[in-house]
């Protein structure tokens, strides 16, 4: 029986390859670097330099990300606090009571009334990652 697969794109070398639908981490067959392909949920404070995944990123109401660079190929949902320059391959949702500080590049964005956005550069739509033509996008 064929296993369910999905196509991901390496965030180091941009190589595309199929992976198992339930895979969480693996290494890129081209550049051999480690890849995170799962969906990340941030429930508390996370202060990192880089946060990258081929899946989606969710910041819950009590969650907070402080980072220089955030990359999520499956999209970003922010209900808490985001302090980072974000590059998303999917839709970005900035919820009503959330705070956003930093840039945002995404194919589409949904900003709900009541959120606080501080001086970030927004580029919408943006297909820097070229994920729009990815199967299943």
């Amino acid at each position: 029986m064929a296993q369910a697969q999905r196509t991901v794109q390496c965030y180091h070398c941009r190589h595309r390859f199929p992976v198992g639908a339930r895979a969480m981490t693996l290494s890129c067959p081209k550049c051999s670097k480690a890849l995170r392909v799962d969906d990340i949920i941030i429930k508390t404070v996370e202060a990192v330099r880089k946060l990258q995944t081929c899946g989606s990123l969710t910041v819950t109401k009590k969650g907070r990300i402080i980072a220089q660079h955030v990359e999520a190929h499956g999209g970003v949902e922010c209900e808490g606090i985001m302090e980072a320059n974000v590059l998303s391959g999917g839709p970005v949702r900035i919820a009503a009571k959330s705070h956003w500080k930093g840039d945002c590049r995404a194919p589409s964005v949904s900003i709900e009334p009541g959120c606080v956005i501080t001086g970030g550069m927004f580029v919408i739509p943006d297909n820097t990652l070229g994920l729009a033509d990815l199967p299943g996008a």
């Binding site: 330099r49 402080i66 009334p113 959120c115 956005i117 919408i124 739509p125």
Partner: protein, 149 residues
């Protein structure tokens, strides 16, 4: 009706170049180039093309705007909206599918900035949209060990 709001409509076959100011509500359906100041609401319809800096209490964008948008209350971008320029507003609502390229300042700080700029006065320093400094994300740096060079 007596309670009906007066709305100024710039029709779809109109081309205007220059400055425009409205005391009440305005609806732009044509082409405009210059600067728009409205004390009330401003609606830019899907047939409109504005190459202008816009200031109003509430700005609703359904069409194309190339310029900075300042709203004392809120900016609404519909799914058909195409906005290229900086946004300063107390509230921002963006529908999925809208296009937006520019710096964004939304929230209480933006409201203070609008008030300090003279209650709806332009926050821009020039025509090139360089009003806001580059955003800086503060990252807690790891302290370097003493004695290492």
């Amino acid at each position: 009706m007596a309670d009906a709001k007066e709305t100024t409509v710039i029709g779809p076959d109109t081309h205007i170049k220059g400055d425009m100011s409205f005391d009440s509500t305005a609806r732009i359906m044509g082409n405009f180039e210059g600067r728009i100041t409205a004390k009330g609401d401003l609606q830019i319809t899907d047939t409109a093309t504005c190459k202008a800096s816009v200031e109003a209490t509430k700005v609703q964008v359904d069409g194309m705007v190339d310029g900075n948008v300042t709203a004392r209350d809120r900016v609404e971008l519909s799914s058909k909206a195409r906005l290229k320029g900086d946004v300063v507003a107390t509230r921002l609502i963006v529908a999925e599918g809208a296009s937006f390229v520019g710096h964004c300042t939304v929230g209480p700080e933006a409201a203070k900035a609008i008030k300090s700029a003279g209650g709806g006065g332009s926050l821009s320093t020039g025509d090139n949209g360089e009003a806001h400094p580059e955003p800086k994300v503060v990252i807690p740096q790891r302290a370097e060990p003493a004695g290492r060079r």
